[in-house]
Subunit: 678 residues, 2 copies
């Protein structure tokens, strides 16, 4: 018999001896075990649920008997009967230590629980949100010791939760007194703290114990689409995700056309700001409806965006971003009140916007860096966030470089004759038989290929071709000898298939004949040229960073962006979108910018981390770099005019065809004027 029972917590392994009768929660706190509690041990919140283990544990050297914890008390019984608890669970604040015991803290009972970022990804986010809930009991007013209700509430936060010096958001003042009285001086408060040691800010007060949740929004504000995840700030779970087209598209498809719109139209910038904020309001409404929550329960949002969208969201005219020296109004991370941006959240909600890296490399690239951590990679990794503007990062533990490249919206299906955004009915995968030149494809909304039985019945009406579809189509056309390295589509006679039909002075390839319900879908030579321009810009940016780094090869390539997730690495390489590399070293990070936003939403330390990464990243400005133009011209060929793409050629055959009558005619992609920024 020892003096005091031994308590061992798993998975941490922390152990200590405590007097009989010590509540498990108290033992956990004394040992620094990560066990959550919102109500502070009052048996209300159930966050402190633990799982005792009974039996002989030679590994730990203890025998844990069934009577090692106190019997169920009335509080626990009431909680269990009202809310239910998993078998074997106890409330850590109620169960008391009576003998040696092994206690497991399940993942969901940890304050700094880890949440899986998304199903396609094994990375986890450690929960450390800025905003947390605290249940407190406030002293009643005493006429003879006059003090404000707010001051007594702050005193309770200090004595019951060691939160000192809290300030009240203005919005809580009007209802503070009625809520305190309604809750009979017991309230739950939402406290926001930007960083450890920062002034705590009371954002809301609920009478009694609040169980309605606490939410945050991670937003990836792209030129073409705005995508957002609505997250539970207590559990880290994504409770709804949605995206809308950026309503600014009516002012210009790509960023530079929006900058031009602002230059040419008085009040144009304000119009675009209004459009994006209205779009955000719609998106928030959709998400809140889907998740069945009140948008007033959204207390935080994190935004990532390219510099132009960043400025337009903030109400800053992006005109300076359209001309050298591409000066940002502000580059650093920003924390501001959501109401400044007219966001329909809680009136005290806070917004965090990640820092921009440079005038063309925005907070979206910073978010990719946070999510994919090139600065922690031993390999030299090239990260490409493919969108209307491509952000490119190259680096490893020694150094990280960044640039952006104006790819235009072709990769997203815009400027393509049959192009459309990725939606049901869009062709997203394409294969062409190198011998017969016959295509087969899949459309979004069906698992079947077009040559499988039942495809027509299963698939939604075929309406167009999306970004990943056009990339695969052209890459397949190149591999089937339908398109030559210069980007010219051959004629029916040259290639030997009736799928090629004349279109003015060029030819187009019929991917889908169309029928009564659906249009004919072809890949025109104009489509090939649009993709050539886009991919050449992307390649040239990557290559410029490699020059700067002094390398000719990269160890691996990560394709980011919602669209990047759908690009087939092999086809991307056949097109020459990215430098030559072993195909199996090309991976997708999915929407890495969106993941970065989510990490910054759920973990405040990650905000400091990304600010530090961005300070250390070296920026390369492509717009004024003469070699960018050289790389661009050479990269207009498919895959490239001078680089043999040896590692790619080891896996695929690229037919040596040429359909240009003069050998270097005016239709060659390489000569075309590149898209410029200013």
């Amino acid at each position: 018999m020892t003096d005091q029972p031994l308590v061992i917590f798993t998975p941490s392994g922390k152990r200590g001896r405590f007097p009989v009768g010590t509540p498990v929660l108290e033992a956990a706190r004394k040992l620094g075990v990560d066990l959550d509690s919102v109500c502070g041990g009052r048996g209300i919140c159930s966050k402190c649920q633990v799982q005792p283990s009974f039996g002989e544990f030679s590994k730990h050297g203890v025998v844990s008997r069934e009577d090692a914890l106190s019997d169920w008390n009335a509080v626990e019984e009431r909680y269990k009967s009202k809310r239910g608890m998993k078998p074997g669970r106890r409330l850590g604040c109620q169960a008391k230590v009576e003998g040696d015991i092994i206690i497991d803290v399940p993942a969901e009972s940890q304050v700094h629980k880890q949440v899986v970022r998304k199903s396609a990804d094994t990375r986890e986010i450690v929960m450390e949100p800025c905003t947390r809930l605290f249940y407190i009991e406030v002293e009643e007013p005493d006429m003879h010791e006059p003090s404000g209700d707010l001051e007594r509430l702050c005193a309770a936060l200090e004595t019951q939760w060691q939160i000192t010096g809290a300030e009240a958001d203005y919005s809580i003042l009007a209802t503070l007194q009625t809520r305190l009285r309604k809750g009979d001086w017991k309230v739950t408060v939402a406290v926001y703290q930007a960083a450890e040691g920062a002034t705590p800010r009371i954002l809301h007060v609920w009478p009694g114990f609040h169980e309605g949740g606490l939410f945050g929004l991670a937003v990836d504000l792209g030129s073409t689409t705005i995508a957002a995840h609505l997250c539970d700030l207590q559990t880290g779970r994504v409770i709804a995700s949605s995206g809308i087209m950026n309503p600014q598209i009516r002012f210009g498809e790509d960023l530079m056309s929006r900058v031009s719109y602002s230059m040419m139209n008085a009040g144009g910038s304000e119009e675009m700001t209004l459009a994006v904020r209205t779009g955000m309001a719609t998106l928030v409404e959709t998400l809140a409806k889907e998740a069945e929550i009140d948008p007033a329960l959204i207390f935080e949002a994190v935004f990532v965006a390219n510099p132009v969208m960043h400025h337009l969201l903030l109400g800053i005219d992006p005109v300076e971003l359209g001309q050298a020296p591409f000066a940002l109004a502000t580059a650093n991370a920003l924390t501001l009140a959501a109401r400044n941006l007219d966001l329909p959240f809680h009136p005290a909600a806070q917004v965090y916007i990640l820092p921009c890296i440079a005038g063309h490399v925005g907070a979206d690239a910073a978010a990719v860096a946070l999510s994919e951590a090139p600065h922690k990679s031993e390999d030299l990794v090239l990260m490409v966030d493919v969108g209307t503007n491509a952000e490119i990062l190259l680096g490893n533990t020694t150094k990280v470089l960044a640039c952006s490249s104006p790819t235009g919206p072709a990769f997203e299906g815009a400027q393509i004759s049959s192009g459309q955004r990725a939606a049901p009915g869009a062709i997203e995968r394409v294969r062409i038989d190198p011998v017969t030149k016959e295509p087969r494809f899949r459309v979004i909304g069906s698992e079947k290929w077009s040559d499988e039985d039942g495809f027509i019945e299963d698939a939604p009406p075929i309406s167009g071709i999306c970004g990943s579809g056009i990339i695969e189509a052209i890459a397949e056309m190149r591999m089937a000898g339908i398109v030559d390295p210069g980007g010219l589509i051959g004629s029916a006679e040259q290639v030997g298939t009736s799928r090629l039909i004349p279109a003015g002075r060029t030819h187009e390839y019929v991917l889908w004949e169309g029928d009564a319900d659906t249009p004919r879908i072809t890949v025109t030579n104009g489509d090939v040229r649009a993709i050539q321009l886009a991919k050449a810009a992307l390649y040239a940016g990557a290559r410029l960073l490699m020059d700067q780094m002094g390398v000719d090869d990269v160890d691996r390539v990560v394709l980011a962006g919602a669209f990047g997730a759908h690009i087939s690495p092999k086809h991307a390489m056949v097109l020459g979108m990215i430098p030559d590399c072993d195909v199996d070293k090309v991976t997708s990070a999915g929407n890495a910018a969106g993941s970065g936003a989510r990490i910054a939403l759920l973990n405040r330390s990650a905000r400091r981390e990304v600010e530090g990464i961005v300070r250390r990243i070296q920026k390369v400005e492509t717009a004024v770099e003469p070699r960018f133009q050289e790389h661009f011209v050479a990269a207009s060929n498919i895959p490239h005019a001078s680089d043999p793409y040896a590692r790619l050629q080891a896996e695929v055959t690229l037919p040596k065809v040429s359909f240009n009558a003069g050998g270097s005619g005016e239709d060659g992609g390489g000569r075309r004027r590149r898209r410029t920024r200013a």
Copy 2:
């Protein structure tokens, strides 16, 4: 010949030796001499003007020769020809030391200049405003070292003014880039810093050097009137003062009737909040027009108010203040954005609201304490801020007590039959001949007494009687034997004057007969009763604090409040408004609450000071104190039922008359139900 010239600054007496060619401003900075500069030594702002003295100064042991400063340079010449300078003045940043020299820093060139609080007062305020202007030169953007314009602006603040870690108010972002370029990278910024060491906040950016001023508003938000001083935050000068009736008066004349209005009417509190904020907007407009400034140049405001007005301004329902335990929603000082209160200032303007002392003793009393500093008084001083609600402070260096007393609006002319607010045409001074019982008086708007030649021609039409007028009238009636100690007015027969006329069961005294243009003005027995109730409440509060302090006498009395400034101490004592005291020890502090607001506006350290004072003040709640009721009853007599007012009687004679038929009839003031709060 010494190595380096000796520079002596007056009035500080600081001295040091500097190399030939050192600018005077630089020498001043190195010696810690308080010499202002907004432009940082660029010859633009002229804040650093100094006055060199030439000749032999045996006191300092130096001979200062005419050539001891460098000749006028082009910058100085240009400034002088453009703006003019007082004779003998030099710009400290341009004039360079070339020999031993005595340099005087005139008051207006000191950063911490002192401003005289107001003409009637010799107290001075040391300038230390939260918001100051800084002229800076910002580095231009460099594409190869990308950074935001804001970050370079902050860097300039740091290198040129040692202001580190400044944050931008959201409102500056939209126009930052255009302003920087318009000013050719030279701008003036308004920086707000709540306290030394607090995060500096950039509130505004002007292209080039800003000379349009920087203003703040000190507001005394009373139940009956809202008074405000518009101050220049650079010089401390009051550039306009104005007051309006509190538009909430339509919801109830005194505080408790407004609390009742809120209790009885759904949305009543919101209506009253809207009314006071609308009133504030009108007042700001008036002041800005009078001073010919743009209200968007108002960057700060300080409010003092009683607890009910404090809550209504903040949008808090005052219902809890109407019932025990009189709990304030918040008692501490508040700093918040002016836009939260819908104030029509600069969008980034900040508001500071002084702390409340208790549920009935508000920020106005705190402001009186800041201004009159009872905690620094060796004498035991009683301070009374006379208004609709009277705040009372009693203390000295050892201890300060505070309470409030519900006097009602009678002292401000309300609830008086011919009462009106203090405006032209109101009778403000009254004298009654103790033998003939004939009155003479003065009205606001004329210097003449009513029995002087030309009074009728000089005075505005007589329209009523204001608060100080009714007090003097009743006190004079008491001294002339027209009113007895119980408050009953005698009949014409009893007193022997036809100026007394019957009015129902009582009598009234005709002060002014009226004519074709003006009404008859009388003092009714109802008026006497209203003043009795008010003064008894005031006295009882003061007496309660004296009990608490364990004293029967006070050394001196300070009457505060705009109205307190007009009360004749002798008449106040004849009425028994205040405890017996040597009449020459009763002084007026004018609008001490308003002065406190101005001090807090112009000196940020004073904010910390008042917060400290309030924490130490001991609060006494009159509403639940049984002795308050006893004191009230005894104080209903004029001057008092039991206290002989010996020190007063040494100076004035109080006739021993009695007009009550039964000796203690039902009309006696002493028995009347006192005004209650709940």
